[in-house]
């Protein structure tokens, strides 16, 4: 049980680094509060797994410190850090029974057989493995094996955190849902810090209280699912989360205002700085509506998903997608769009400008 702090953390798999791209993880500063349910979200290859392995101690970071409850642990090995980690593909000990597999982490720590028995039965009950406890683990199906992997992560009740590295990749979709709810339930029950790595936004948003979004080795935003949706701090969060993602249009910043194609756009705050190489205005499709004046567009196509309609339009600065209610009328041909001021943000070099 501990608060986990990562301070100025960077890691590279190369011996020398010449550019940002050589770093797998760079300049990470984050606190994982004790008992939180976190999701670490990002596309494949963004450094999620590296970050996880650094926390558990499987990898020594090139730079920076790791602290548990303000105590330095950078030089401790995984056993000393007392972290549980579950991997993407099921890892089982082939020659052992399911029971022995679950008991293995406890036996390695020389806990009394009596206590082990209680704990293993409790975990097996929870994961519905009780009936197979005496079978050889190698005979189980992929999801049975992954349950064992999960179980080995959960049997130790004193761990500082439990980390999941895309643990449901090999599981059938219907079982995925069940196991995910189980994990959520478990989190409420044992109240331990859980970090769940995934590239699937649905998985992240349903599991976690706090979502940490990674992009090219950096943490671009940490927040609740609602924060990420309503106020993306980085353009990557804008288009990675949401379906369809945020509209980003090239624009100019002039005198504290956002100018899109010669027209002033109202954003949630005035723009401060001017010195960016790339300036964009972003607004989610949910926060756009048709209006009698505003940004002139041509309506290109409409697709109906049942719950809402997605409208593709073409403006002078690029395509704009919008989501409207299924019963709303759509003007044909030319139309004007209005962006909701409080959800319209200016981005300079991909970061929000306020």
């Amino acid at each position: 049980m501990a608060k986990i702090t990562l301070k100025d953390l960077s890691h590279s798999y190369l011996k020398t680094q010449s550019s940002n791209a050589d770093w797998a993880v760079r300049d990470v500063n984050i606190d994982w509060n004790d008992g939180g349910a976190y999701a670490l979200l990002g596309p494949s290859g963004c450094g999620k797994t590296t970050l996880l392995n650094i926390i558990s101690g499987l990898i020594n970071p090139t730079k920076g410190d790791i602290l548990f409850d303000d105590k330095m642990v950078s030089n401790l090995n995984p056993v000393e850090r007392n972290i549980a980690q579950i991997f993407q593909f099921p890892v089982i000990y082939d020659t052992m029974t399911v029971y022995d597999n679950l008991a293995f982490p406890l036996r390695n720590r020389e806990i009394e057989e009596e206590k082990i028995k209680l704990k293993v039965h409790e975990i097996a009950e929870m994961l519905e493995l009780s009936s197979t406890l005496n079978n050889r683990a190698s005979g189980l199906t992929a999801d049975g094996k992954q349950k064992i992997s999960l179980g080995r992560g959960l049997v130790r009740s004193d761990v500082n955190a439990i980390m999941f590295d895309e643990p449901l990749t090999v599981i059938d979709p219907h079982l995925k849902w069940i196991l995910r709810s189980k994990l959520k339930e478990l989190h409420q029950k044992i109240n331990r810090t859980m970090i769940y790595v995934t590239h699937d936004q649905t998985e992240a948003l349903t599991f976690a209280d706090q979502v940490v979004v990674m992009h090219e080795g950096q943490i671009v935003q940490t927040g609740t699912p609602v924060d990420l949706f309503e106020k993306p701090k980085h353009t990557f969060v804008g288009y990675f989360i949401g379906s369809p993602g945020m509209n980003l249009l090239p624009c100019e910043f002039k005198g504290g205002e956002v100018i899109l194609n010669g027209k002033k756009i109202e954003t949630h705050k005035k723009v401060k700085s001017n010195s960016f190489s790339k300036t964009e205005v972003g607004v989610r499709p949910e926060f756009i509506n048709f209006s009698s004046e505003g940004i002139p567009v041509k309506v290109l196509s409409v697709s109906n998903t049942g719950r809402h309609k997605i409208v593709d339009t073409q403006s002078e600065s690029g395509k704009i997608k919008m989501i409207i209610k299924p019963n709303e009328d759509i003007p044909s041909g030319s139309a004007f769009l209005n962006f909701k001021k409080e959800y319209t943000y200016a981005y300079g070099d991909n970061w929000i400008v306020e």
């Binding site: 995984p78 890892v91 052992m96 293995f104």
Partner: protein, 288 residues
């Protein structure tokens, strides 16, 4: 799934059948022919029934060479398998060291058997060979042409030198195929190095090790050229293993009947041991 029944399929088996017949069954039948009959040449044969088999089974000479053979095979397996695994474990897993180690390891395997025998013969000669001379200079009374213990020591050392690489390469391949996640999970689970070896590495190497043991059993049980060139079966009959004894009987004494019977017994022993071993090793694999 229902299988289609079509007897014409047998037609496609014919080429393989003919091939196997010519390279295995027909030569074997010739041996069978000699094993049950007596011949004085000129293609004249007399039926002898199981006489040669009884003679071989009761012969002390056969018992002795079979005993030597089992002892030799057991010793080299006992050395080569653990040694091979140990070397494979210490080999680098990535980088420039990998090809260097692999090439060095493969070298002994590429040398022809009789060259190995000749090499070791010269290497071990007590007066001029590097090994023999050094041992004597160090105060050991070493002479593999005269002393039984020295002859066995040299033969075993030669076989270990020649064939441990095979076990190393197979074990290394088995080790390389283990996903890194297994080692990471073991680290998280707090497993000791010994537990990683017995619970992860050995089970994952089971299949390649089965192959390695089978290959080393068969090859060492049928060993001929190397000890023949090194010691010629001597001193006396001390290193006359089954093959050497068999050739002596067949070509030296021209006892074709008993030699043929011995060949068949020899063949069945190899077959039986391999079958029993393989069945035992694989009996739990069915549920995977």
């Amino acid at each position: 799934m229902n299988k289609t029944i079509n007897q014409k399929a047998w037609f496609f088996v014919i080429p393989v059948f003919v091939l196997v017949a010519f390279n295995a069954i027909i030569p074997l039948m010739t041996v069978v022919n000699y094993a049950f009959q007596e011949t004085f040449g000129n293609n004249v044969f007399m039926w002898e029934g199981t006489r040669w088999f009884k003679q071989i089974m009761l012969s002390e000479r056969f018992h002795a060479s079979l005993g030597r053979q089992f002892l030799f095979t057991f010793i080299i397996l006992f050395i080569q398998i653990p040694l091979g695994i140990a070397i494979a474990l210490t080999m680098p897993k990535e980088g420039i060291g990998v090809p260097v180690c692999l090439v060095l390891m493969s070298m002994p395997l590429l040398i022809p058997w009789n060259v190995v025998g000749a090499m070791w013969n010269i290497f071990a000669l007590p007066d001029i060979g590097f090994l023999g001379h050094s041992l004597n200079a160090l105060g050991f009374d070493y002479n593999f042409t005269q002393q039984i213990g020295d002859a066995w020591f040299t033969t075993i050392l030669m076989d270990v030198w020649h064939w441990t690489s095979l076990v190393v390469l197979l074990s290394y391949a088995g080790l390389q195929s283990i996903q890194p996640a297994y080692y990471q999970a073991a680290e998280i689970d707090g497993a000791s190095r010994w537990a990683v070896f017995t619970k992860i590495e050995l089970p994952k190497m089971k299949k390649v090790l089965t192959i390695a043991i089978l290959l080393r059993f068969m090859d060492s049980f049928m060993i001929y050229t190397e000890p023949f060139v090194l010691t010629g079966g001597g001193p006396g009959n001390a290193t006359a293993f089954l093959s050497i004894d068999l050739v002596k009987m067949a070509l030296g004494q021209f006892d074709l009947g008993p030699a043929a019977a011995m060949s068949l017994i020899y063949f069945f022993i190899v077959l039986l041991v391999c079958w029993v071993f393989y069945t035992l090793m694989m009996r739990n694999e069915g549920n995977q």
